[in-house]
């Protein structure tokens, strides 16, 4: 019975709607008589805004409203540092920054009005690189940074907007004892989240003062709160109605078009709709952080790691955005998941006049693991120790302590390393030109709290209501039905799902931090148990039986041993006072303890329900052209417990190819501060031809904290492929670029290091 529901692969409950085209995404929502809205963007990377005059544009035909810094709240947005306004007041700080938004009867009218807004800019010298930003007399991206409010313990100076450090032991002394010390320097590119659905949003202010926003948010409840706060509205009077979301990958956590349509809707009596082109979406994207890293490590002759010094610098763009998270995570990964008794790990966050970087799936993860694992292979080679053996020798075990002093439990590093390696035939002979590589990481689970309702309706159908948005991962459309069906003994495909809608008052922290099934799943499980208890209560009286004699299966409650004596869910829903509604919540999870004396300005130094993941790759390199063929890629991921194995495999396979894209072809290119590739012609997402055969190995080493031992799933698989592929390239041909993307040209240059760099 129910034992076969959880943990088995099942189709998604939204699959039919998606294969028939009936699933509605935000741009598909048809409201009566909408206004079309567009954004006016700065053509300059850095410019003082000397004047904005909208009077001429406002008077143009069809124009209903124009919003800009002069007529919206000057309340700053808060990402830890209050360095940004809805529209810039004094300076535009990146090319493409929104300086005004216009609503009109048609998009053509709105564009014409945008072009008629009278703006005078005074161009300033932009900061276009980390190096330039950190130079002594660099222009300041935020000349007034001293006056900004900020939260917490922060390091701020000139173009530096964040810094964190983890220090343990005595690195210099340990390096002096080491048999081998190597230093490696890396550069990584910024990368787009690459969701296929460009952003869109619709907003409408009702005559009763309520503001409704139709959107595809990763976090509708927190976005709603943020918006209510900005417009000084009662959160109960702001409603976010999520639609299906065409991929997000962290790129739809921070609001964008939602802000502009809402600001316009506050001044209009009709719905205001904005749908971005890919060009515009790329201009306004929140990319993965580009940056640099320098690693120095030493080990004893037998391969025992002694010390590591790692220093990252991340380019967070014109505003801090999600820079802090990426920098914190990078230092947490820098020496993990290996025993390194002496570490000094730091990350610096830098402003430039570029895109605002965002929390792209596993922020900081691919970057840190790429650098760390390639560096460790270099060290293993210097020591003459086989790379897998070197890692196994130093791998964390149960009871080990993280760099920040967290005591680790449920550690599976050796297991995931071995399983990933086995899956690509590690140790077996290789054809000429081929090589294998491996890399591992740890990650966290998170639970920001979640509420769910399970309703048994008059017709006996079961519906699960959660605020967890369905962005494609299947958390809401696949995992929750499985969990609910398990508790109620029904077929998961019959469980109706609801897309997140703050009007449902089932608050959820949103999709980020590998949290969805972990937290919304707990809430839904609890709600289903509550519904089950209510059904049993009613059945006791209806069937005049004791609870111990009842069983729940196939949409009914049966008296055990008497198949004729039963009450269907429909009958039970009609019996008693009102409908059956089970309620459940997941409580916020607290962070484990760590040693605060080891960390400096670090807000994320211990991780709950830690998970472990390794990827291994086999590649073929054409040394004459630098072309890399990834022949196979395997990821072994410890998910603690797989409620939804099909969903886990989907996350691993999809993450593998995203990781591969960032490794080999994806990178934002700038001319100075101007984006070269605001399209999919130049920004090269992997195609089906680029994707290798992938082996997804699910490892289940139960956590203490998670439901049934679960660990978070969504982010880790994207963090290890670049590391494995990079090491495989070096194994195949003896060289590898310490720079992403590892394009054919860069591989060829690495092999021919006499060639002048670009």
């Amino acid at each position: 019975m129910t034992a076969h529901i959880i943990g088995t692969a099942r189709p998604r409950n939204d699959a039919r709607a998606k294969v028939t085209g009936s699933a509605l995404y935000t741009a598909d929502v048809a409201l009566a008589d909408p206004l079309a809205a567009v954004v006016l963007r700065s053509p300059h990377a850095f410019a003082r805004i000397k004047r904005i005059d909208i009077t001429g544009a406002e008077a143009m035909p069809g124009v209903h409203a124009i919003v800009y810094a002069g007529n919206v709240s000057a309340k700053p947005l808060d990402f830890g540092i209050k360095d940004q306004h809805l529209f810039p007041i004094d300076c535009a700080r990146y090319r493409g920054e929104a300086v005004a938004a216009i609503a009109a009867g048609t998009e053509a009218d709105a564009r014409a009005a945008a072009n008629a807004i009278d703006i005078e800019y005074e161009p300033l010298t932009p900061v276009t690189s980390i190096e330039q930003a950190l130079a002594p007399s660099a222009p300041l991206v935020h000349p007034d940074w001293r006056s900004y409010e900020h939260s917490g313990d922060r390091v701020l100076r000139d173009n530096v907007c964040g810094y964190n450090r983890i220090r343990r032991g005595d690195v210099d002394a340990a390096l002096n004892r080491a048999a081998r010390v190597v230093t490696s320097r890396f550069q990584f590119s910024a990368g787009l989240p690459g969701y296929l659905e460009p952003r869109a949003a619709i907003a409408h202010k009702g005559s009763d003062g309520t503001l409704t926003v139709w959107c595809g948010s990763q976090s509708p409840y927190s976005n709603r709160d943020e918006m209510a706060e900005f417009f000084d509205l009662d959160p109960a009077k702001v409603r976010f109605i999520n639609q299906f979301v065409g991929g997000a990958f962290g790129g739809k956590i921070l609001m964008a078009p939602e802000w502009y349509v809402a600001a316009l809707a506050m001044r209009c009596d009709r719905p205001v709709r904005m749908a971005w082109s890919r060009h515009e979406d790329n201009l306004h994207a929140f990319p993965r952080h580009g940056g640099t890293a320098t690693f120095t490590s030493g080990a004893a002759a037998d391969g025992t790691m002694l010390a590591m010094r790692a220093s990252f610098a991340f380019d967070t763009g014109a505003y801090i955005g999600y820079g802090s998270g990426a920098a914190l995570i990078a230092t947490m990964l820098a020496s993990a998941p290996y025993r390194v008794p002496n570490v000094d790990l730091e990350a610096t966050l830098v402003y430039t006049n570029k895109h605002v970087a965002g929390p792209v799936r596993a922020p900081g993860g691919p970057q840190s693991n790429f650098a760390k694992e390639l560096h460790l292979d270099e060290l293993a080679r210097a020591l003459g120790i086989e790379p897998l053996e070197f890692r196994l020798k130093n791998a964390w075990q149960d009871g080990d302590v993280s760099p920040a002093g967290q005591r680790l439990t449920s550690v599976s590093v050796s297991e995931v390393l071995r399983k990933a390696a086995d899956a690509v035939g590690w140790g077996k002979p290789l054809a000429a030109g081929r090589g294998r590589g491996i890399g591992a990481t740890w990650w966290f689970s998170s639970c920001g709290g979640s509420e769910a309702r399970v309703e048994v309706r008059a017709d006996g159908r079961v519906r699960v209501v959660s605020g967890n948005p369905e962005i494609g991962t299947g958390s809401a459309a696949q995992a929750l039905p499985i969990i609910v069906a398990d508790a109620l003994g029904i077929d998961p495909s019959t469980v109706e799902i609801a897309l997140a809608d703050t009007g449902d008052r089932a608050a959820d922290g949103g999709v980020h931090g590998s949290t969805s099934t972990f937290s919304a799943g707990q809430a839904a499980g609890a709600a289903a148990s509550d519904a089950r208890a209510q059904l049993l209560d009613r059945a006791e009286s209806m069937l005049e039986a004791r609870r111990d004699d009842l069983e729940v299966r196939d949409g009914a409650v049966f008296v055990i041993g008497d198949p004729e004596s039963k009450a269907t869910f429909a009958q039970l829903a009609a019996h008693g006072d009102g409908p059956v509604v089970g309620l459940g919540t997941a409580q916020e999870m607290s962070d484990p303890e760590f040693d605060t004396t080891l960390v400096q300005t670090h807000g994320f130094a211990a991780w709950p329900a830690a998970s472990f993941t390794a990827s291994a790759a086999e590649v073929e390199v054409d040394p004459e052209t630098g072309r890399v063929d990834v022949v196979q890629l395997a990821t072994a991921q410890d998910v603690g417990f797989a409620f939804n194995p099909a969903g886990v495999r989907g996350q691993i396979e999809g993450g593998a190819v995203q990781g591969l894209g960032w490794a080999l072809t994806e990178g934002l290119h700038y001319h100075g501060a101007s984006l070269r590739d605001p399209d999919f012609k130049h920004y090269l997402l992997p195609t089906a031809v680029d994707a290798p055969r992938i082996t997804a190995v699910i490892v289940e080493c139960p956590s203490v904290e998670g439901p049934r031992g679960m660990k978070g799933v969504g982010e880790p698989p994207v963090t290890t492929p670049a590391a494995a592929i990079g090491n495989a390239i070096r194994d195949a041909c003896g060289a590898v670029p310490y720079e992403t993307p590892m394009t054919p040209e860069r591989v060829w240059r690495a092999l021919n290091d006499d060639i002048r760099p670009l």
Partner: protein
């Protein structure tokens, strides 16, 4: 879109199209497959005052072979070139280049005429046609047809065709040449070539005859590698021809290619690709791969 004043024509016959193109001169645009024109229309449609959609002109979409020449209408698509048994046997090099181009969807739309007229330095079809000694058949109102060798018409981003003049067909001599097509991209699927090489080695009484080598992505336009061709024609391969091919590849890279660094590849890398891919194409052609 500021297209209110634009006039649209859908002529059924070539003569009608030529009259319109003649009347509007440089501000008329002929529309073929649209893969390039349609996305650009959104931003830059204002300067077009007449759009001439060629789709109804049946004569532009046909392929025929006579007198040892294949005549391929300007509207023949990449998909048709890749699938046509006639092209596969008469101009296999063009079939191979067409099959490698774009995506299935784009091949369905992209035309041979559009590829040439775009003047794209990395055009798959143009480079294959250059190595095939193709000629452009041009028509203009009141002037009948004229023929120009393809190698003489290409300029960066376009052609030397006069306003009012329409490319109606491409003519390719049918030969017994052994050919091969080699291409390198950053990604493996669906991308413009970084460098592509088309080679054709004529058969001359069972021995290696004149060799044609064309380069894409190696300069401002697709070009013939005449210096490398000279090396090929004044020497003969031995064995598998690897050494011979490497020598010719080096000549193509050093003496013919004129690549400039851009966002996608540097000069040095493009030269390397020209050398390597030219040599590989020659070896494969000698081996009778295609």
């Amino acid at each position: 879109m500021t297209t209110a004043s634009m006039q649209y024509f859908e002529p059924n016959f070539l003569d009608e199209a030529l009259v319109v193109l003649d009347r509007f001169g440089p501000r008329a645009k002929a529309l073929a497959g649209g893969t390039r024109l349609v996305p650009s229309l959104r931003e830059h449609s204002g300067d077009i005052i007449a759009l001439v959609n060629l789709k109804r002109i049946a004569s532009l979409a046909s392929t025929s072979i006579s007198d040892g020449r294949a005549r391929i209408g300007a509207l023949v698509t990449a998909a048709e070139l890749a699938q046509s048994p006639v092209i596969a046997s008469a101009v296999p090099l063009l079939a191979a280049a067409a099959a490698s181009m774009g995506s299935r969807q784009v091949r369905q739309l992209a035309t041979i005429g559009g590829n040439i007229c775009s003047g794209d330095a990395a055009s798959d079809l143009t480079v294959a046609l250059l190595a095939s000694n193709a000629a452009c058949v041009l028509a203009a109102s009141g002037h009948g047809e004229r023929r120009l060798p393809l190698r003489d018409v290409l300029v960066p981003g376009g052609t030397i065709f006069a306003p009012g003049e329409l490319l109606v067909a491409v003519e390719v001599p049918v030969t017994e040449a052994r050919t091969d097509y080699q291409k390198m991209m950053t990604r493996r699927g669906f991308e413009m070539a970084l460098v592509a090489i088309a080679v054709a080695i004529d058969r001359d009484r069972g021995r290696t005859g004149p060799t044609r080598i064309a380069l894409a992505g190696a300069g401002p336009v697709c070009m013939r590698a005449t210096n490398a061709e000279d090396v090929a024609s004044t020497s003969a391969p031995a064995g598998s021809g690897r050494e011979w091919a490497a020598r010719i590849g080096a000549a193509a890279a050093d003496r013919d290619a004129m690549p400039e660094s851009d966002d996608r590849a540097s000069t040095a890398y493009r030269r390397q690709l020209v050398a390597v891919l030219t040599a590989r194409a020659l070896v494969a052609a000698l081996a009778g791969a295609k």
